[in-house]
Amino acid sequence: MIDPNNFYFYIIFLIQILLASWYIPTKILNRMKTVMHEYPPQQYPKLYAGSIGAYNKLQQRYQMINRILFTLGFSLLSAIVMWDYTTQGNINVMIPWAYFMIQMVPLMWLEIKEFKYFKAMRKGNTNTKKSATIIPRKLFDFLPQKLFGFAIVMMLGAFSLVIKQYGFKGNAIESIMIILATNLFFAGIIYWNIYGTKLDPYQTSEDRIKVIKVTVKSLVYVSIGVSIFLGAQMLIKLYDLDFLKPSVMSIYCQLILWASVGNRLKQIKIEDLDFSVYKTDDGTELNPKPAQD
């Protein structure tokens, strides 16, 4: 018989499959297609560092990998249900986490591709004129102080729960160090976003600020999510609610995805970005590039 405690996990895991391997990838693909349709290479050649064929292939591969992962997710869920039906055992907490890590592979691949395209864009930028704003950028220009304060309070709250659970020794110090390292990593990305090299050589200052704002906020949301997760784990231990662990892990993965990618997709709207910078310098249309890889 199916363990009723696991039933909620199936629903939550199903949402994880749908969210990370169907909903978000569909949103990303639609966005890519909209950009290519609304801002074609003939009118916006600077936007395309590679050929149209390469972009189409990228989209097809991204879609294919996500379809495979979607199928894999359903197979995994069926296997868990079957296993639960026969053994009534507890679900390993690492299952939703490991599957989530695999679900993130196409996104990471896309991110690496994006870096490569930006590099090619910078290489292809023949404009010898460079411009920069003379206003210093500061963290709190991009992040509300209240949100920053809230993230700190959540982190400290999670730490106090850890210390309450373990005392100030081995496990507690390990958990605290992991969270601190994670937050330091986020701080590094935030610093790099604010002060680092501009990836897109044509991007306007206004658009850059918009993108930095959303990225910084997303990372702080993820940091809050990490603290909540740690706190939830401690509460599970405290009240002996081990059966909730896989569900909490799956919800945590979904929260991270929402806070990072979901937030970026929602906040950075295509119509709000200035694509005129990708037009030819004299405004003329180019002949379309032949479709090739």
């Binding site: 010898t128 920069a132 003379i134």
Partner: protein, 124 residues
């Protein structure tokens, strides 16, 4: 307020930076006391070397157009408006032209002038 540089222009990059910051002060685009971006930020944004921006900032500080406040960063000097209108290069050129003209009228040769300059600069 935007800074625009041309990496292929004959004018050195640090001079372009200095001129534009001074121009911005004269035009009132940046007020005395206003903060300036960090060397790293400006260098990354303009895709130029940090040392180029550092040199420009150093010379602007020498001319009292900007002032450095340690870890807080660089700010526009309170007397920047007056100091931005003084072109030290122009003043040096004007003074030297007058001195060299006097030397030449007295019959001093070019190599004697060069050697004397060398000695003076070496001893300073």
């Amino acid at each position: 307020m935007q800074i625009n540089i041309d990496i292929e222009a004959a004018t050195p990059l640090f001079t372009q930076l200095i001129n534009q910051i001074k121009q911005a002060v004269v035009n009132g685009d940046i007020e005395p006391g206003a903060p300036l971006p960090s060397i790293r930020q400006l260098a990354n944004d303009l895709e130029i070397n940090n040392k180029t921006v550092a040199k420009a900032y150093q010379l602007l500080e020498r001319d009292s157009v900007i002032q450095s406040k340690g870890y807080r960063g660089s700010f526009i000097h309170p007397d920047a408006l007056t100091n931005s209108t003084i072109d030290l290069n122009q003043w040096v050129e004007k003074t030297l032209t007058k001195v060299i003209t006097d030397f030449k009228q007295a019959g001093v040769t070019d190599s004697e002038i060069r050697i004397a300059f060398g000695h003076i600069l070496k001893n300073k």
